[in-house]
């Protein structure tokens, strides 16, 4: 089925691509926003087994209306289980949660994510919200998918502050020494999918309806042509989109 992706908003496109990546997983650590939307979309379509886990302690919910906080009523409503945050982070640290989705204000070539400061830590231009659970997820989750709107200002060579550690050759070596999982392996924008390599992000594939130039426009990394053909989307994901009230 030929899909015209330009009919969907950038955030919807990210959720569509991300949903495909969640096939085969049973439990997903999600935050509010695009991560939550992507996980809901997957559960409604290609991966009904997926249990959504929020750091607030809610497990098994499928929030279809706008939620502002990971502790919002819409997250509690419809949950199969409500436990505490310690329990969820314990599961995370014990390797009991399969996959995580993260976003951030800045991302760099090695998948380091910044949600702390723009500028210098002690004299910042913008002081942001801090890690929340992002650092913890980036350190601990066995499979990490990063979701970023294609906004060139947010893509940098080196993040101002590495709130959530990345991957690639050097960081992976330290991760190995510390018995930590390998870190971010997939980056999804609203136009393309990237995969992590020893040298940093590699362009993996581009969403149908977009060109190589569009998919890489303004990104600071030297990008080779995609290593794979266009991203195919299961039509079930597109059909499920209507159920999510963005």
């Amino acid at each position: 089925m030929k899909i015209d992706y330009t009919e969907y908003s950038p955030n919807q496109r990210i959720a569509i691509i991300a949903a495909s990546e969640l096939v085969g997983y049973k439990s997903c650590f999600v935050g509010i926003g695009i991560p939550s939307d992507a996980a809901c979309l997957a559960k409604l379509s290609v991966e009904p087994e997926l249990n959504l886990i929020y750091e607030s302690g809610a497990i098994g919910a499928l929030p279809l209306s706008k939620s502002y906080s990971t502790g919002s009523p819409s997250i509690a409503h419809g949950a199969d289980m409500i436990t505490d945050s310690l329990s969820v982070f314990s599961d995370l640290q014990a390797g009991r949660i399969d996959v995580g989705l993260l976003s951030a204000a800045q991302i760099d070539k090695f998948g380091n994510l910044n949600s702390t400061v723009i500028g210098d830590y002690d004299e910042p231009k913008i002081r942001m919200v801090g890690s929340g659970g992002a650092h913890d997820i980036a350190c601990l989750i066995p499979n990490l998918i990063v979701l970023m709107p294609h906004d060139p200002r947010r893509f940098v060579d080196t993040v101002d502050f590495a709130t959530s550690p990345g991957s690639g050759r050097d960081i992976k070596k330290i991760r190995d020494q510390l018995n930590l999982p390998e870190g971010p392996s997939i980056l999804i924008t609203d136009k393309a999918k990237f995969i992590m390599s020893d040298e940093g992000w590699l362009l993996h594939s581009i969403l149908d309806s977009f060109t190589f130039a569009q998919a890489t426009e303004g990104l600071p990394w030297s990008l080779k042509p995609p290593i794979s053909g266009p991203i195919e989307t299961d039509p079930a994901i597109i059909s499920a989109l209507a159920q999510i009230n963005y």
Partner: protein
């Protein structure tokens, strides 16, 4: 058994001292707005406030210039944006910060709650560490030789939390989203609790699994219905998302924020005044809104 019910004024006056380290409960759910506002009304200074993920209540306490230090994993207005008072105070260096992550704050509280001075963790070993926690130490497992960060215990002087119900002796019942509220309370030396409703001890005994803090740990109980507004209380009322959204605009502007604080904090001398500010239309709307699991009674 001792009757621990109190007024909000007496509970804060008799238990909180200038300079105290205060854990503030509520993770999206059950944020003790009205109870914590009393710290502002009584102008108790030089406070350290701590929790994992903090929202606009922290912004209000910081804006009121009673906070010396913030220990946190996240301070913001979830989905809406930044905590502007926090950002301003940080840039002006009028507050100290000690910046962790949500998991590490929770593990710090858990260490204190378990009575040990640290617990090992896999986090905070890679990535940039804020300058204020760059002294974080490592510890080696004596069995596996694996390296862990040593997460130091955080034992607040006092916890302020909001819950659904309590009896007058201080057995606290809570359901719905907890986050780190119970862990933080149990880690603290003293605990003050505001509740939607004081119920009988026999009602407590009918569902002892709902009790999350036993009476002997609690200093005071205050019945403050709607005390968690604009956050929510499962079984009672929903979250006022609009209030949070408008607060973003308000808190960008220091003058607007001053009048907000005068209105919602300083002049709200009792919980009835606070309810009046919310207004009957909004109250009806939030009572009928989605609010997690209803009270089973």
């Amino acid at each position: 058994m001792i009757d621990k019910t109190s007024t909000v004024q007496d509970a804060i006056k008799n238990n909180v001292n200038a300079g105290d380290n205060i854990f503030i409960g509520g993770f999206g759910h059950l944020i003790p707005f009205y109870l914590s506002h009393e710290l502002i009304r009584q102008k108790i200074l030089d406070l350290t406030i701590c929790r994992s993920g903090a929202d606009i209540l922290f912004d209000q306490l910081i804006a009121s210039e009673i906070v010396k230090k913030v220990i946190f994993g996240y301070v913001g207005n979830p989905t809406v944006g930044l905590s502007h008072s926090f950002s301003r105070a940080y840039k002006k260096k009028s507050i100290e910060i000690e910046e962790w992550t949500n998991q590490s704050i929770i593990m710090r509280l858990h260490a204190a709650r378990m009575g040990v001075s640290f617990i090992p963790s896999k986090i905070l070993q890679i990535g940039d560490k804020p300058s204020n926690i760059s002294h974080l130490k490592q510890v080696t497992c004596p069995y596996t030789d694996h390296k862990f960060s040593a997460i130091p215990a955080l034992k607040p002087d006092i916890a302020l939390i909001h819950a659904q119900c309590a009896d007058k002796y201080g057995n606290i019942q809570m359901w719905g989203i907890d986050g780190d509220t119970v862990e933080g309370a149990l880690a603290s030396d003293k605990i003050i609790v505001s509740v939607e409703k004081i119920i009988s001890n026999s009602k407590i005994k009918e569902a002892p699994e709902k009790t999350v803090i036993p009476s002997h740990r609690v200093s005071n109980i205050i019945e403050l219905p709607w005390g968690a507004y604009p956050s929510y209380v499962s079984g009672f009322y929903s979250r006022d998302d609009d209030h949070y959204i408008e607060y973003d605009t308000t808190s960008r502007d220091e003058d607007k924020l001053s009048s907000y604080l005068k209105n919602w904090v300083h002049d709200a001398r009792n919980i009835q005044e606070y309810k009046k500010l919310i207004g009957s239309t909004k109250i009806k709307e939030l009572e009928e809104g989605l609010c997690g699991v209803k009270n089973e009674d």
